[in-house]
């Protein structure tokens, strides 16, 4: 079980609370977790990564275990603490704007 924390706007959009829990088959990577998240909540498709290129949207970042994973390969295994559910994967919207 993987725990994912969503930013406020995406919680509203997906009609969920602060944290969602996902089952991910196989190795837990950013890509596989986002695939599972978007499969469970299709309305999030395109709001975290581009529909076509699958690139992370510029004002979205991925944090976990006090590390910034945003620039890691999406296919790199997530930290064991995230894969085991001990720590959440944080999807964060940049603190900016008016």
């Amino acid at each position: 079980m993987i725990r994912v924390e969503l930013p406020a706007h995406l919680r509203t959009l997906a009609r969920v609370g602060r944290e969602v829990q996902l089952e991910v088959e196989g190795r837990a990577t950013l890509c596989s977790v986002l695939d599972a998240l978007e499969a469970r909540y299709p309305t999030l498709q395109g709001t975290i990564r581009d529909h076509v290129t699958q690139q992370r949207r510029p004002y979205v970042r991925f944090f976990a275990c006090e590390e910034d994973l945003s620039h890691e390969s999406p296919d790199k295994p997530l930290p064991e603490a995230v894969a085991s559910g001990a720590e959440p994967l944080l999807i964060v919207g940049a603190i900016a704007g008016g």
Binding site: P7, T47, H51, R57, A94
Partner: protein
């Protein structure tokens, strides 16, 4: 008694303003989608309870919302806008070639007959259509593919397709407008398109009478005369009597011919409205006086409408999507400002009153007249 529903898109959410036919007391519903930019909210002429809303943000991109109950509840539908084939390039601000990139939906134009069919004008400029109520979107690629696309360039607000007009007398005829490319028309339902900019004169482009490159801000049409078009260009108010094949200027005695909005009275096809704005750098009303100008002669002769509008210290703008009319016997006219006010006139512009005063900056105003 009839009802009026005003759909307001703002920089921080959407609002639904409702009144009875007297249009004296208004209930303000919302904010819907609080915190998101709502570029446009529009209802289906075929089913007034079916609404479509363009929701976007710099963080999370585009979302499309649909309501089946007049805006009480909403559900997200498809938000995947993928250009047909290899997108190619258009001009960037510096004149270099820049790849087409989807940014947001500026305008929804629901079909006149089918609530599930909607046209979407997007940035970077292209026209999309859904026929399944917004679940999936397909580009009408003939517009970008007709040949002049590489010469199109963005205006200050982006390279947006902001106007879509459907001809009530001919389902195959559609007009669209792009900043800054100009106006285009299809006569075959969107398969092929041609620029319709003859007569436009824009001193800010290398060839002032070029076939494309004009910064058209808005086009309006009266449904009883779909070949007569009125245009607010960056500068110049223009008119066409031949479906856009040629245009002539009707700015007449306007104090400035710059502005964004233009609209037509619901029952008088020769009565049109604009809001002159000081340009090119300020983009607020002349002399701090918010004035709508009305022509009852299809242009050239204009009168200022000021009763109920602030006539001192007013420095708001009225953006291109932010004016609409209702179709009650006494035509109502509505517009929203970047200062968050929505003004309404229940007497075709003679007198005005704010019906909302403290909203976020208004991006769009649409009106539904309900039985």
């Amino acid at each position: 008694m009839s009802q009026v529903r005003v759909l307001v898109g703002t920089r921080k959410g959407a609002f639904v303003l409702e009144s009875d036919g007297k249009r004296e007391k208004w209930d303000i519903g919302g904010p819907h989608f609080a915190g998101w930019e709502m570029y446009h909210v529009k209802g289906s002429p075929a089913d007034p309870n079916r609404l479509y809303a363009s929701q976007s943000s710099g963080w999370h991109g585009q979302v499309v919302q649909r309501s089946n109950d007049g805006g009480k509840t909403w559900e997200p539908v498809g938000n995947k806008f993928v250009y047909d084939g290899v997108p190619g390039t258009h001009q960037w601000y510096d004149g270099t070639a820049h790849p087409w990139e989807f940014k947001r939906v500026w305008h929804f134009e629901p079909s006149l007959t089918d609530p599930d069919t909607v046209f979407a004008g997007i940035e970077d400029a292209a026209l999309f259509r859904t026929t399944d109520g917004g679940q999936t979107w397909q580009e009408l690629a003939g517009l970008r593919g007709h040949g002049s696309g590489p010469k199109w360039q963005p205006g200050a607000g982006g390279m947006c397709l902001h106007t879509v007009l459907l001809d009530p007398s001919d389902p195959a005829r559609i007009y669209i407008a792009i900043s800054a490319a100009g106006a285009f028309r299809t006569d075959d339902g969107g398969q092929t398109w041609k620029p319709i900019n003859r007569g436009l004169h824009s001193q800010y482009i290398p060839d002032p009478t070029a076939e494309v490159g004009h910064c058209v801000h808005r086009i309006a049409m009266h449904r009883s005369r779909p070949k007569v078009l009125f245009m607010q260009k960056h500068w110049d108010v223009m008119r066409s009597d031949d479906a856009g094949d040629s245009w002539h200027e009707v700015s007449g005695n306007l104090p400035t011919d710059f502005g964004f909005v233009i609209d037509v009275h619901a029952h008088e096809p020769e009565t049109i409205y604009v809001v002159p704005i000081k340009s090119d750098s300020e983009h607020f009303p002349l002399e701090g006086k918010l004035r709508v100008y009305r022509s009852r002669t299809g242009g050239n002769e204009w009168e200022p409408l000021t009763r109920g509008l602030p006539q001192s210290d007013c420095y708001v703008n009225v953006l291109r999507e932010a004016m609409a009319v209702d179709s009650l016997d006494q035509c109502g006219v509505y517009f929203g400002t970047t200062g968050g006010q929505v003004y309404a006139s229940a007497d075709a512009g003679d007198t005005w009153a704010p019906i909302a005063e403290h909203l976020p900056g208004v991006l769009s105003v649409e009106v539904q007249t309900l039985p």
